[in-house]
Symmetry: C2
Subunit: 286 residues, 2 copies
């Protein structure tokens, strides 16, 4: 089995580590715009060998795991080079633009659009970890546009890696993921910024930070190169979530300024219901 | 050794669990407005016996760990009942109002104002855990107003529990903690609210949530009874942090609407410096 990963970081690297564990006989090839990443990935045992686009003709699986703007040119190019039996999946956090860019590609049926909902705040080959996808959700878009035999091949692999599958159209995916993922990242980045700006004037306030602060700003460690194009591609929905979030924060501030503590209490109490929802996430996905 | 904890929840309960581990001969007494909490705490081994205010005359240590509004009446009452050698500490997340309310109390020198920066999103006696304070920071305010021998007694206990001490005046404490703790809680509650409101119209979007979302909304599970009075007491600083946070989010949204992705990239890249700061927290405090 020949597997090629294009963009050897957290997402693609972790995928090939799981594939290699399931299929020790597989040869894992890697392509990366950064030559240091290729060397690092070989040294870490994430990939076996470097490859290039000409080698893709004999690939069984090709994973495109590059920033979502780069994927817009890489994916059509990859489809141009693959063989008839190759299945290609792209794993980015936005799905409408990538589905549109290959909609009329002659090899569209060799492509399956996926979004494995998994990750950490780290990036690069050293961020790749085994078992990242165990119990996580993989969202698949426009499954009907992928050749049936190749769908089967991809789904069997996802299942063996431990993922649950959910089907969704690309537009619904992009709208919903803005709420449960993209907004969290912005909220975290801006929280980090607000506190860091304060730190400039008031030394050592981080010395007072505890695990609660750490948890809410964890995502502010995420890669700008990965996240800027996500926000760009999903601009419309991200702006919508930001408007709602800012309106809710402003409402909270208004209540505080008006000394309406009953409203604040009620608001927090009703949001406490998120406990059960998070328990659901923890039970199902961990 | 006689130790009394008034308000047997996460903070006070965890403290007495550590004290009992250090001093197995100590008797741990508890007082709680909720009779079920007293029974639960005894059943869980968090306290040995129920007590009442009349028993405080023979106490070595009294821990006041009730919501910060309740502490405003409980603490003066406690000081009224204690003996000359008793040391009382209050552990709430705001320090100016509590220091003011006992400023002229005849037993002011038996009181030490503390804020152990530790916790989880859970509450009640079952939330008490051993070792919660290991490696955490304990902020002590107006230490000079506590009798020297009682300071020594309290500080030795905090040190033995594994805490590092930091001294601060109450006003600085309340200003800085608004940034590194209170704002995180509001950011998390409002993020939870924004996504839950959306869920009403669009079913099952939580099914798409991953560990990033979970991390940023974790604090939205926190107790409204504990947090409403904190926001009330620290209103001025909390409003200030919210204004800055909302301004930063609005700036981000404006850049997105203006397609200024370079500004967004730069913003995230500069906020990435929080990595080193968080590593500092993790190294020192865990």
């Amino acid at each position: 089995m020949n597997v090629h990963v294009i963009g050897i970081g957290l997402i693609g690297g972790s995928l090939v580590l799981d594939i290699k564990a399931l299929h020790p006989e597989a040869t894992i090839y890697g392509i990366d715009a950064n030559p240091k990443h290729v060397q690092e990935a070989i040294a870490l045992g994430v990939i076996d060998k470097e490859s290039n686009y000409e080698d893709l003709a004999t690939a069984d699986f090709v994973i495109v795991s590059v920033p979502v703007d780069v994927a817009m040119t890489v994916l059509p190019e990859v489809l141009h080079h693959i063989g008839d039996k190759t299945i290609v999946f792209e794993v980015g956090s936005t799905k409408t633009p990538i589905c549109e860019v290959v909609a009329h590609h002659p090899k569209r049926r060799n492509f399956i659009a996926t979004h494995p909902i998994a990750g950490t705040e780290f990036s690069g080959p050293s961020a790749a970890i085994k078992g990242l996808y165990q119990g996580k959700t993989n969202i698949i878009c426009e499954v009907e546009k992928t050749a049936f035999k190749l769908q089967e091949k991809a789904l069997e692999l996802f299942k063996n890696i431990g993922m649950r599958i959910r089907y969704m159209d690309p537009k619904s995916h992009d709208k919903h993921i803005a709420y449960v993922s993209h907004l969290s990242h912005i909220s975290s980045f801006m929280l980090g910024k607000t506190v860091m700006n304060k730190e400039k004037d008031e030394q050592d306030i981080f010395d007072m930070a505890g695990s609660g602060f750490e948890s809410t700003v964890r995502l502010a460690k995420s890669s700008p190169a990965m996240w800027t194009p996500i926000f760009k591609q999903n601009k419309k929905h991200v702006v919508e979530t930001l408007e709602e979030y800012i309106a809710n924060l402003t409402q909270f501030k208004d209540w505080l300024e008006a000394d309406d503590y009953q409203a604040i209490f009620n608001e927090m109490e009703s949001t406490n219901k998120i406990k059960e929802i998070l328990n659901g996430i923890t039970t199902i996905k961990k």
